[in-house]
Symmetry: D2
Subunit: 113 residues, 4 copies
Amino acid sequence: MDDLIKKIRKFREERDWDQFHSPKNLAMALIVEASELAEHFQWLTEEQSGNLPPDKLAEVKEEVGDVLIYVANLCDKLGINPIDAAHEKLEKNKEKYPVAAVLGKSYKYSEYK
Amino acid sequence: MDDLIKKIRKFREERDWDQFHSPKNLAMALIVEASELAEHFQWLTEEQSGNLPPDKLAEVKEEVGDVLIYVANLCDKLGINPIDAAHEKLEKNKEKYPVAAVLGKSYKYSEYK
Amino acid sequence: MDDLIKKIRKFREERDWDQFHSPKNLAMALIVEASELAEHFQWLTEEQSGNLPPDKLAEVKEEVGDVLIYVANLCDKLGINPIDAAHEKLEKNKEKYPVAAVLGKSYKYSEYK
Amino acid sequence: MDDLIKKIRKFREERDWDQFHSPKNLAMALIVEASELAEHFQWLTEEQSGNLPPDKLAEVKEEVGDVLIYVANLCDKLGINPIDAAHEKLEKNKEKYPVAAVLGKSYKYSEYK
């Protein structure tokens, strides 16, 4: 991830794009890319979404790349370490959703909130 | 990232949540988290978005964590290495947006496409 | 719709919120509301999503309200009649997806583009 | 709006697309269209977003059309009247954000919650 962030910084600076890359704009661009990723799945059944043909999977991989580039770029601008952020949030989620309470339940539709 | 993915897999399996975590559902959840991240910025000016007070930054960091957790989870399900995907896409973007053609231009509004 | 737009305009002006309601910000807010709507469905099966219990349906109706408020607000700012825009786009879609070519096919996965 | 919903129903049925149009899928498609709309604004300043050239405005109008088509389609599937939903939500918002408390304040960053 560190290496990726360095490359993104260089990419952005070489093109003088810092002026467009406010955290607000990057957050907006991140949603747009996440939507392009989701677009591949929107008319598929859940089962189909887990069995993509190789050409579709290659397209999905490109969209994942775009999503992660914007996550990394945004984090670089905000001074956040994304891997640390994910580890910390996962610890919080462990407390929020204790195994005994949510086992096999979709958390939104369980009694547990 | 590898360590993060291992932890997410364990988190998911302990709760028996694989049944809900089709790539389709995870892609949908990723947008929802990306939107929660963007919500912090929607009424701010671009300048304000680059000068968040510490309490806001801490909230944003949590949302970044959620976004990356879903990216990692989705990639684990699809057999995609997210860091590789980002590096490969960045190489493509270098060709798509050559420095000489896009220097200092917002790519969407430049003549260059 | 006309009556709704008039009420939204009054709501916005009484609160002196025009300063925050640039088309850019309203478009961002629209996605955030659309995501809150989608959040109700993300862990449901497609079948469950068509059989919501009354309390869930009431929550979904509120989110639909938020989405349409932002669509109407954005259109008011841009001088677009949303109903006209939808009728015109539907005519385009009729040409883009002729019945004979797409009958019973998910358009994204058919040969037809 | 009633006329629009009737046309959308006919469009959908003629193509035998009801099988793909679960509320879950339509909610996902709605976000994708809302993101395509937002994409037009992501690198613009707020001021630029309020002064679109005619060709850009025409493109934005098409995206607005797509957004409203999915809102109407989803509402038809769920038995929700979208205009009623918006009016009801606007009444709630009036109570939630009283003029005296939020005048000229961005609600997310005001003390008022």
